[in-house]
Structure formats: C-alpha cells, structure tokens
Amino acid sequence: MRISIQHLTKIFPSRNKGGAAVHAVEDMCIEIPSGKLVGLLGPSGCGKSTTLFMLSGLESPTSGKIIFDDQDVTTLAAEKRGIGLVFQNYALYPHMTVQENIRFPLDNMRIKKEEGNARALDAARLVQIEDLMARKPSELSGGQQQRVAIARALVKMPNVLLLDEPLSNLDARLRLQTREEIKRIQRETGITTVFVTHDQEEAMSICDIMVVMKLGVVQQIGAPQEIYDDPNNLFVANFLGTPPINIFKGKIEGGKVYVGGEVVSATEYEDQEVYVGIRPEGYIYDPDGVLTLKVDHIEVMGRDKSVVATHESSTKPTVRCIIDSDVVLPPDAAELKFNIKPYKLFLFNAETEERLR
C-alpha cells in the first residue's frame, strides 16, 4: 500500500494554562511507495513516535492528511485502517497464551476458530515461534515476546505494518539478529512497513527509505547511503555514522577552505564562516598532507585502525580518523598530516547550519 503524508501537523496543548503548546510534528510531507521498509529516525522527542501513532489512527493529527493508496484515512478509526502495530513494550495480553494473543485480532473479525488457529500458526511460523504457542507472555524472553507481537500484528494481513522502537528492549546481540529478521519478514510479506528508531545504525542497515527528523521537522528523506553521502545539514551529518563525523570551525576565503591556518580544500562558494565536516574514513595519511592533527593515541581494530587526535578548531574534544590497517604510520609521531577525500568533506553555513550547495 502506498502511503502519502501531506502537511501533517500535531500540536499537543500545554498541560498547565499559559504554557507553550508542544509542536510534536510540523508540516510533514512524505511519499512512501508500496512495499518499502521506511525508518523514522531521530533523537528522543523528535516526533517520530507521534507520527507513527497518527499513521495507526491512535492519535489524530491537528492538521494535514494521511492517504493510504487513494483513500483519505485521516479521520478513520484505527481498527478500520488495516494496519498492524507493534508497540515498544509489545503490549502482549498477559493473561492470554501466545496463540490467543496472535488470534485475538482474528477473533475480533469473527473468523472461525479453526481458520483463526491455522492463520495464527502461519503467522507464528513466519516469525519462528510455532513451538511456543501454549505459553504465556511472562514465560517468554524479550526476543520471543517481540516475535509474538510481530505475529499478532501480521496475522490479520495488514496493508501497513508499523513498528514503534521494535528493537529498543532487546540486548545488543538479539538486536542485530532481530533487525535482520524484520527485514526478512518485510521482504517475504511485501507489506509496506514503517518503523521508528533512534538508533541510526539500525535504520541505516535495514531501511529502504530513511526519514531523519529533528524537533518535529523532517530534515531529510532518502535512501540511507544517499543521506549519508549527501547530508542536507549539520544535524543530519552529525546524526548519521559511527564513529560520528568530525566537525571543524573554518572559513572560506577567496575560494579556499581554511581550518585553523591550513587550506584543506578549494571551493567555489563565496567568503563566509563555515563548519567543515569530514567523515572519519575521509582521511588519507600523507606526510605532505593538508591538515595537521595532534595525535592522542591510535586504536588498532584489526581491519583498520583509528587515529584519535585533537585539533584546536574541532567542535568535539577529539577527532577520529579511520585509516587502512596496512598504512604504515611513523611511530610515536606527535603530529600527523592528512589529505582529505573531497567527497567526504562537507561545508555547512555557520549560522544556518545548512549545507552549502
């Protein structure tokens, strides 16, 4: 199912009189093609969960439209939208067995018990929990509960699957496994899926389309690699990537980009104060390089090594450069010089923090 979000806005009135209303989502416009896996990404409080709940129909938008295929569902009740929703804490009914939990949506559709059981079993097979059907949720591990919640959302064959922070309650190892699982299930079923996360790595790894949000405002929409390689603004550049991008205060003067006293790159933009963002993997060691960094220490990771260094213009305490492990660095050097890959260097206006384009 194709989802079209048009000028969606949600304003929560202030709890106490005279307080400022909270603009959870502001003027959001997204087109989601059918069968895609979409990640809403942003830090806490950026309105991504609110967006998801508006898609599900549990929250009603202040203004704007939500359109599924060609049907305007903005005011349609949650149960009539044909969506499956997986809650952050799963919200499995504790007094029902796994089977009853999965079958519950079907019971409400007045589907016969045998058919309901058969479909519940199919859904359980899809998430590989078919041998846990007789258990109660309290007898399951977090990962298993997660699967039950997904099965319950999938059993009624929804047009849209919505997942609210699906991986946040799982431990690190399970998180890796489950995110691949979600990708697999989404591929197998072909259901348009929207999920919410604050973990950029998670979003980058499984999304077809990523929506980066900040304070209720969409910052950038696109494929993960696209956004990573071509961030719209300082926030997006900063939010994506581990280790994060290095930001330096710099300036453009006469077609040259200065960081500290050094010219790191040439540019055609006019003279101004800028932030210079350089991805950690954008450094090439060169004794005659353009940027000099004071080395703090070097971490050897096996596959590559990272130079942890400092620079007076850096906005962060340390600068991290990832270089190939077979590059030989002079031992005990206090300073190293680097060249910079031009496509890993981004310039942002110092005031608006927008990318210079």
Binding site: A78, E79, A91, P94, H95, F104, P105, N108
Partner: protein, 395 residues
Amino acid sequence: MKENKKDVGSASGTPPKQHNKFVQYFINLGARIRGWFVDKWTAIKDFFVGIKTYKQRKLEAELVTNDGPQLTKGEKFRRGLKSQSGWLFVAPALILMLVFTFWPILAAFINAFKQNYNSLSDTYQGIGFENFVRVIKGDTGTGGASFNQCLVNTLLFTLISVPLSTLLALLISVALNSIKAVQKAYQTILFLPYLTNSLAMGAVFATFFTIIGTEKNIETVGLVNNVLGWFGLAPVEWIKASSPVWTLGSIKIPWAKYIVVIVYEVWSGLPFKILILFSALQSINKQYYDAAKVDGASRWTTLWRITAPMIMPQISYLLVTGIMGGMKQYTAIVGIFGEQMGTNYDMGTVVGYIYRYVDNGQYGYAFAGSILLFLIIMVITWINNKITKKHTTYR
C-alpha cells in the same frame, strides 16, 4: 486448656470419668500446649530476672562450641530470644490475640462438643455431636427460624448479592474510568455509603419500603411502592409479617423481604468494590487498550477479554471477601427488620441464629452453629479460590 476441668461425675463425688479417645486427644493436646507456654514463660522470666556473670556466659559458650548444645528447651528458647528479640515487640499484640481471639476460637471448638453445657456452673452432660445434630435437625426446643432456614437465607443473600454487586461495581468503575469531567465528584458520591453506619442505612431502607398505616387506612405505601405504582404495579408489603412468601418444604422464602435485603446488600457493597476496581483499572497500562483498538476489539470485547482478566486478582479478592462478609451478615437485617429479624426470625442469618442462642444462654447450639458456619465458609472459599485461580494471571 482450662485447668479446672469438671464434669458431672466429679461434682457429685463419684470417681473421675474415663474419657474416650476423642476427648483424651484434646486433653493431651491441651497438656502439650500448656507445657509449651510454661517452657516459654520460664525462659522469659530467665531472660529478665536471671543476670548471668561473664564466667557463666563464657562457660555456656564453650559448652555450645565443644559439645554442641546440651541445653534444655527453655535455655534454647532464651538464647533464641536474645537473637530474635523481635518476639518481644510482637508479644503485646500476640498476647492480646491469644486471649481475645485464639482462646475464644479454641473454647468454642471445645464447648461445641459439650452436651447441655451450663455456662454458670461450667457443667455439662457428656461429650459428642448432639449439639450439631440438634442444630441441623432444628430440634433445639426454642421457637423461631431453624438453622437450615437461616443458612438458606444467608446463602441466598450472599450468592445473589455478592456477584451482582461485583458485576455492577465493575461496570460502574469502567464507566467512571472512561469519563474525565467530574470524575472526582462521582467518586465521592459513590463512596458515601461506605462511610454510613449500616444500622442507619437499614433504617432508611426500611422506611423506603414500609407501608405506613393500617390495612384499611393506608397513609403511605412508601417510596418504592409509589415508584412501582407509576408502572401500574400493585403495592407489595416488603417488610412486615404479611409480606408474600414461597414455601419449599420446611424452608420459607419471603421473596419480597429477600429483595429488600439483596438491594440493600448490593447497594452497600458497591462503594468498597468500586474503590478497589477503579484503582485496579487505573493501574492497567493504557497500551493494552491501544493494542486492543488496533486489533479491532469492540468495547464489549475489550471489557470482557482485556479489562476483566487484567483485574481478576482484585475481582477474586472482592468475591472471596464479599462472600465471607456476606455469610457473616447480621447488622443489616437487624437494621431493616428489627431485632426479631423479620417475623419470628424468618429473615434470620446464621450469625443471627448464633447470637440468638448466645442471648438465651444455650451456648452449645451457638457454638455448634458457629463451627458449622466456619466450615461452610471454609468450603465456599476453597471452591471460590479454585475457580478464580484458574482465571487469574498475576502481572
């Protein structure tokens, strides 16, 4: 156990009566319990009075480490007392409970088996089940409703009013939970009956239902009959002797009076139940309701398949305590129907029955009745627990 145990034989000078096994068991039990108390008392006295020298303590300590404790029960307890001085804090309450709760229970159990027990001279004629047999057969030699009649009354009042008021309380608390405006005000109004004295409430109920005046010159038919009159129903005598009755063998069911009692009990039971269920409802995570909504559950389905099971622990608590309380009903009946509990005790409850025999000095029947009540409550509670446990998931 009572020390000055007397029986009719020793009172008239003949040698003490040989007890049968059943009685001997209780006498032995009594001796053992007495021994336990003597032991503890010695230890407590020792603890406060006996001041040991350092040498003695050291000697004692060596005794424990070298040969293991070769101590009398009293000494062991005294040592325990030192390490577990918590007992001393519990002691005041424990002593009061022993005197005013456990001893009376024990005494009731013992005296229930004494035939023709006379409380003034503390004499009786033999031991056995005669009291029980007479109570159950209704052969107590006094007029008024039989034990069976009282038991049927009590069971019907309880088994109708408790589930009904729990159900009503559930529906009301769900409704209360779903409104936002004036929720507090409703809460207060609903809770008011809880703060009202049950005798006073009974009196008010009686006036609602009573027809005032003589048969020929009725002054008013009462509030309830007036309301029934709007629907074209003839006035019913709810309270007095002429109230309509169904007869089933030896059991009489004055249904009009029953309705008064059940309405009263449902109404007076509501506030506490609403209080418990309402707070239980508020503790349910809202997310379950969101999930149910997405799953397409109707309000009715949500109530029965989500809400009710979620607060099953509280519901089962209310059922168990409600039934226990209902089986002990007394004051409400007196409040509505007066001290005679209707006409010649026909609305009597089991506790009313017991109280009647305490009042006229036939303690044996009262004891037997109270033990029967105890057993009945125990069985009902056991069944109740079996049923509710099956449907209860503790979160």
